[in-house]
């Protein structure tokens, strides 16, 4: 039995080279499709899933152009065109919300941009490996804290009553400040807690990029007497530029998509003037409202999505043109 199958496979193997390769256009499409039938079978579940969970909601976006009434369904509801968009752009909160969204994202992007690079360079050049390893582990740790725990920790430490920061301030003679309720402090708390949480995580990408640099560059530079500062400036930063550009593109594309979870937890009635952003606004006018306005929320969400896509494509195009380093 074994011998038969062996000889069979041998014969097949001998014949194999003469068979037209799968990639050759000579075999007809139908033959290739039939050959790949099991691959389609595997793909069936993800395709159906993505169709239901990703494409059906895209169809639901039509709600943005309708006065949606649950009893009538999406199709049956009255078509009102761009009315919801007009309503958003002419509403008094609109400018405030857009400004909050863009300001917080830009601030966050710019302020948090240099730290991972600095940390990665520091870890990369650190010679004492216990320090190196412990700093990397410690700085990476807060990434695993959930938004609930992060904001919970912040509100505890910054609390007017018994918060350690205010204990310290009153010790040096400053009257306690309600940080979490102060609209002017909101941006700073949001951004710097993000830096506290994310720097170690973002540094990993740069550490791996630095590890990928050909050591001969550094050896040659050292022979020529270059200092570490010079090597960082002329070798490391130049060679990790593609990574930096890539992360910037991804950041700009999501300028309007501030994560919902953290900002929603940080909001309270006192800081709404600076903390209300698109995603939380959508939630508050639709799902959270006592008279939910689904169409209005959908319209704002659609606007946010379209701006995000446009920005990503735009920045990618610019970066391709300037440096040839784009995402696609």
């Amino acid at each position: 039995m074994a011998a038969i199958s062996q000889s069979l496979s041998k014969r097949k193997a001998r014949r194999a080279p003469q068979k037209p390769s799968k990639l050759q256009p000579s075999s007809s499409l139908w033959v290739r499709v039939k050959k790949a039938k099991y691959l389609y079978l595997l793909l069936l579940i993800p395709v159906v899933y993505v169709f239901i969970f990703n494409y059906v909601p895209m169809y639901g976006v039509i709600m943005a152009f309708k006065r949606f009434t649950p009893s009538l369904g999406i199709m049956g509801s009255e078509w009102i065109g761009l009315y919801n968009f007009q309503r958003f752009f002419s509403s008094p909160q609109c400018l405030n919300i857009l400004w909050n969204t863009i300001r917080i994202s830009l601030y966050s992007m710019i302020a948090s941009f240099p730290f991972p690079i600095i940390l990665a360079l520091g870890i990369n050049y650190c010679r004492w490996s216990p320090l190196k390893r412990s700093v990397q582990s410690i700085t990476f740790m807060p990434y695993f804290l959930s938004a609930v725990l992060l904001v919970g920790l912040m509100s505890q430490l910054l609390s007017v009553r018994n918060g350690v920061v205010n204990h310290f301030l009153s010790a040096i003679g400053v009257t306690p400040i309600d940080f979490m309720g102060n609209p002017r402090a909101f941006d700073h708390i949001y951004v710097w807690s993000g830096i506290w949480q994310g720097t170690g995580y973002s540094a990993i990408i740069y550490i791996s990029a630095l590890a990928g640099i050909d050591p001969t560059y550094h050896e040659a530079a050292m022979i020529d007497g270059a200092s570490i500062w010079q090597r960082i400036w002329r070798i490391d930063l130049v060679l990790i530029r593609p990574t930096i550009v890539l992360l910037l593109i991804l950041g700009v594309g999501s300028i309007l998509n501030i994560g919902f979870e953290k900002i929603y937890l940080m909001q309270n009635s006192l800081n709404m003037s600076t903390s209300s952003v698109i995603s939380t606004y959508v939630y508050s006018v639709s799902l959270k409202a006592s008279r939910p306005d689904y169409s209005f929320g959908t319209a704002i969400g659609l606007f946010q999505n379209l701006v995000g896509v446009t920005l990503t494509l735009l920045i990618n195009g610019i970066s391709n043109k300037i440096s040839g380093e784009g995402l696609f």
């Binding site: 496979s9 194999a16 499709v33 790949a36 099991y38 691959l39 389609y40 793909l43 579940i45 993800p46 899933y49 993505v50 239901i52 969970f53 059906v56 909601p57 895209m58 169809y59 976006v61 999406i74 600095i118 940390l119 050049y125 650190c126 004492w128 700093v135 582990s137 700085t139 740790m141 807060p142 695993f144 804290l145 959930s146 938004a147 609930v148 725990l149 919970g152 920790l153 509100s155 505890q156 010790a171 170690g200 990993i204 990408i205 990029a209 050896e219 050292m222 007497g225 200092s227 570490i228 500062w229 979870e261 995603s279 959508v282 689904y294 959908t298 969400g301 946010q304 999505n305 995402l327």
Partner: protein
């Protein structure tokens, strides 16, 4: 330049670094220590407070070590039944949700890694569109509602778990770790694609599967948004929702604070504050216990991801 001379040059330089290199190492060490401390201290402070008495916290006597050591607040927190049910729920959502999401990823990624599958480009575009366009919060909500999984545990296990970004990572892993030769040999021996997928592709992709499992688990474990949108029954709440309800309300559940009586010096608000430290530590504990094991897989996963780019 031969390696011998290179080594000698290095050796000559190593014992006495130039002035600017020495200054670099000093600044660098100071910076790294500072970075480590600034991350560590707030967490240590919270842990110290959670073991300290309410009076010690009010009087600001806690620095980084528990003062008037007590387990009162932990007792109160662990007595609260929703913490336990939240923990179990999170465990269920994280494991079942991860299992589902990773199966989806593998089923999608393997066929996409096969250059001989007709229509690959079409399917790639089909999946990639989801990276750019989404329905948004409300159409997603409507879908969950229409599917009839609103207010059920299913909504937190199977809804919106496809990530095209992760699929691309797994796909490129398949492409690079499964040489065409193995597949050809298997085909010649009469092994069909289905069997090849289960007996060859999946076992060979173990490293990337481990990474994806962890990515998903951590993501599901830490998120509360879907639970807030799609469930309203506290018995179904994952841990993060329970924590949120304790940490961000002025009044804590009476069930929890009942065991602690306000004294002369500490009001009920002070006791809440004291309890919240214990809640934070209890909430962070599962992740921090898992962290040493998770860490290296995460780093590996990010490398796999960045290599792709």
């Amino acid at each position: 330049m031969s390696t011998a001379t290179l080594k000698s040059v290095k050796k000559k330089n190593a014992p006495k670094p130039s002035g600017s290199d020495l200054s670099f190492h000093i600044i660098n060490t100071v910076m790294l220590v500072f970075a480590g401390l600034i991350v560590l201290l707030p967490m240590l402070y919270a842990v110290a407070c959670s073991f300290s008495s309410t009076e010690a916290i009010i009087q600001n006597r806690v620095i980084l070590w528990p003062v008037e050591f007590t387990l009162e607040s932990y007792k109160a927190v662990l007595d609260y039944s929703l913490i336990v049910s939240g923990f179990l729920n999170s465990l269920l959502y994280a494991s079942a949700g991860t299992l589902f999401a990773v199966c989806l990823l593998l089923l999608g990624a393997y066929p996409m890694s096969r250059p001989d599958m007709p229509g690959r480009k079409f399917f790639l575009v089909f999946f990639m569109v989801t990276m750019f366009f989404n329905g948004g919060m409300i159409p997603n909500y409507m879908l969950v509602n229409d599917l009839g999984i609103m207010n059920t545990r299913w909504s937190l296990i199977i809804a919106f778990s496809f990530s095209c970004y992760n699929m691309v990572i797994v796909k490129s892993y398949f492409s690079s770790s499964l040489p065409q030769g193995i597949l050809d040999a298997a085909h010649i021996d009469g092994c069909n694609d289905l069997r090849f997928f289960f007996t060859m592709a999946i076992p060979l992709a173990k490293p990337v599967i481990a990474v994806m499992v962890l990515f998903n688990m951590v993501g599901i474990w830490n998120s509360y948004m879907n639970a807030m949108l799609y469930t309203s029954d506290p018995a179904m709440y994952p841990l993060q929702m329970v924590l949120r309800d304790i940490l961000f309300v002025a009044q804590m559940p009476p069930e929890m604070s009942a065991s602690l009586d306000p004294s002369k010096t500490a009001s009920l608000t002070d006791i809440y504050q004291q309890l919240r430290y214990a809640v934070l530590v209890v909430g962070a504990l599962p992740m921090m216990v898992a962290y040493p094991f998770v860490q290296k897989f995460f780093i590996k996963g990010m490398m796999i991801g960045s290599l792709k780019e």
